[in-house]
Amino acid sequence: MPINYEDNIYEVIRNRERCINCRVCERQCANLVHKYSAETGEMVSDSMTCVDCQRCVSLCPTKALKIIKNINTYRDNANWSESAIKSLYKQAESGGVLLSSMGTPEPYPVYWDKILINASQVTNPSIDPLREPMETRVSLSRRPQNVERDGEGNIVNTIKNALTLSVPIMFSAMSYGSISYNAHKSLAIAAKKLGIFYNTGEGGLHRDFYEYGANTIVQVASGRFGVYKDYLDAGAAVEIKMGQGAKPGIGGHLPGEKIVDDVSKTRMIPKGTDAISPAPHHDIYSIEDLRQLVFSLKEATNYTKPVIVKIAAVHNIAAIASGIARSGADIIAIDGFRGGTGAAPTRIRDNVGIPVELALACVDTRLREEGIRNDIALVVGGSIRNSADIVKAVALGADAVYIATGALLALGCHLCRSCHLGKCNWGIATQNPELVKRLNPETGSVRLINLVTAWKHEIEEMMGGMGINSIEALRGNRLMLRGIGLTNKELEILGIYHAGE
């Protein structure tokens, strides 16, 4: 028998004094870590398959469980880290591409954490959001060049298809298939009640969710799964997915196991077949082709819906965004490289793309230099973790943000980064009916609403502190930001001063 080089990463610690052998952990774990031993009358655990999703820990009625890192230690090596060695063993064993889920866990700089926000003192007053109106509403659309008037000289409202958000937050694209029916339903209900939007991702729109169409962004990706007239008509906006921050330059792959009944119907592909999105759109090999797709979609929807073009943050992002701003698109969405994914090749996720903070800053600056920033709205995503990140993003120049990992965390995700295994114990990234039903869409939507409402309050407090009572006056207001511990070059790209300046 060959040697098994694989080692468990986590270890289950069970407090025998507390454990009552109720077998909850056994029933909750789709990875089959826990099992009851009839011989000993005690629970036993196999840590080998544990992904540290914390489901058993959360549900254990006596708090008898703890998951810790395996303290087994390889010989120290600053160059060949333990994870580098383990990855190599895995590939030597399998001959395959390493797969991962969610955003990169590697210790790249998080620029949000190196930016500080301003507040008023003496020379102008801060504003108390509990006593004064505080506006977080934003509209996303192309903005007109010239004012049109009717015969009597009244201004004609020519902006007909703006997306209006009560707060500058939207739920980012996650396909039905990569996440569950109940996860989608939670997002749809929450988006509707919050007056914001959620995004179908590339997997089509389940029939049941057409009723949430007014709060839905329907996505058209390179695989064109589930795209047909009713689908385009159902949404409030259409998003062309050119790229994803977690895996710029490549397509997607939803394994056949996840293409079950409804997923297959919604995606319009046979059951059990792999859903493979090509790396490029095969009708878009250049910017002029993108323009044609933008207008094809506008024609198909009779110019009633804004078109979003979503791109991954890559090195030449400013020039690409400039091209898109001139393509007829209404909104550009930029996805930073710390953004999540349901499955991506590890090496791509951890090495390709650039942080969204720098991408946002350079795109906003570039569009202003070209005098076209007001023509288009800018949405950013790729690891927005809290309300302060949003305030910083808006002050750097974003009209709104996309959140996805944050939304999943609100639904119970513990970032075990094993979505690609399809055994999500929280009922989110799985199509297993037994697991899916663990997520109650009513409860889930309430948690999402709570999250966005809490962030809205915090955004209002920070705006009030700066003496700003409309989020519009914060957008691109970079003097409200200062860098901390950043180099001159980083400050230059972000377009902000250092703290103390």
Partner: protein
């Protein structure tokens, strides 16, 4: 220490304005008395005035008032002016040496009109051509600041208390149908006369009290369209916003006020259809020109004045009317100083503009 323009200096202030709707021209002593009452609202680091209707004999020509730090700056700038404009008249701006005002730069006045061939070649209209030339002079040459560039109007400003600035510029020798004034309380020593108010571009001039929290959002928007905020002050960016919305985008003054101090959405949504449509459009089309934070401003333009408070009214501002004259000031005492009884005195509501125009076409 960095001089103004290299760093943003917030300041508190006093403002005052007078307009005779019948076009009757009055000298600058009244406005000077008015602003002087609010002495404690400024700290001697900036004062200034703008008068409209003061150059009737040159009313068809742009009047450039320019600060030069030295003769070399003046020589370079004049070369530029001569190649782009026909100069009808040029002279030193008349001033009086007084102990309260020191360190004055060279202050010159030029009445000019664009050179027809250059104008044609630029493919711009006369106003845009002139505006762009002003920005070239203010950014290309160090030590040059064109602080007044309108027709039949002029700005007079300096480092000092406003009442001293009025004496320095001999404002009692000018007569205008409207005047605005400013006393400044900067939180830093500007040391450069350009930083004083009013700010003016073409016929628009603005005096402002407050510190706007939207400054950089407004600045970064307006700079997309050829404006250069060379002094980094709130008033400068507000002046350019008025020019952009009214002259470039052809909004009415009231519509421009609806962009700058837009009503809250809650209020807009409860409005009758026509108003709701207009305001929804304006807020959606020009969200980056909403000005937040405290401000009270008086905007001077050809043939009128407009006063506007921020939508929360975080700065005091009072208006009054007596016969054909309208007065506006930060404090009521500044109005009562120059007129004892009124037909009407009121505190304009935040976000609602007070627009006063000359009767008929008297400008």
């Amino acid at each position: 220490m960095k001089k103004e323009g290299q760093i943003r200096i917030p300041s508190g202030c006093a403002i005052s304005g007078i307009i005779n709707k019948d076009g009757r021209r009055i000298d600058g002593s009244g406005i000077s008395k008015s602003i002087a009452v609010m002495h404690d609202r400024s700290n001697g680091l900036g004062g200034g005035f703008a008068g409209y209707g003061i150059y009737p004999e040159y009313k068809d020509y742009y009047a450039f008032h320019i600060f030069f730090t030295d003769a070399e700056a003046k020589r370079q700038c004049e070369t530029f002016i001569e190649s782009h404009f026909d100069i009808i008249n040029q002279s030193e701006l008349p001033t009086k040496k007084i102990p309260e005002i020191t360190d004055e730069p060279l202050i010159w006045r030029y009445f000019v009109t664009p050179r027809p061939a250059k104008l044609l070649e630029s493919q711009l209209d006369e106003e845009e051509y002139t505006l762009r030339c002003v920005f070239v002079m203010n950014t290309r040459y160090s030590g040059v600041f064109v602080f007044s560039s309108g027709k039949n109007m002029g700005v007079f400003k300096a480092v000092g208390f406003p009442e001293d600035v009025a004496r320095f510029y001999r404002l009692d020798e000018y007569a205008g149908y409207s005047w605005i004034a400013h006393g400044r309380y900067p939180t830093n020593t500007p040391g450069w006369w350009g930083g004083a108010h009013p700010f003016a571009i073409l016929d628009f001039s603005v005096v402002h009290n407050g510190e706007i929290s939207s400054y950089d959002a407004n600045r970064r928007f307006i700079e997309m369209f050829g404006y250069k905020c060379t002094l980094q002050t709130d008033t400068e960016v507000i002046t350019y916003i008025w020019d952009y919305l009214v002259r470039r985008k052809k909004l009415t003054l009231t519509e421009a006020a609806e962009v700058i101090a837009a009503p809250f959405w809650e209020k807009i949504n409860a409005m009758p259809d026509k108003d709701r449509e207009r305001l929804t459009y304006l807020r959606t089309a020009y969200p980056s020109l909403l000005v937040t934070g405290p401000f009270s401003i008086i905007v001077g333009f050809k043939g009128g004045l407009l006063a506007l408070n921020d939508r929360l009214k975080l700065r005091s501002m009072v208006a009054a009317e007596k016969n054909q004259t309208v007065y506006i000031a930060s404090e009521e005492c500044a109005i009562r100083e120059i007129e004892s009884s009124f037909d009407k005195v009121w505190a304009p509501v935040g976000g609602e503009p007070v627009l006063v125009r000359l009767n008929g076409d008297l400008s």
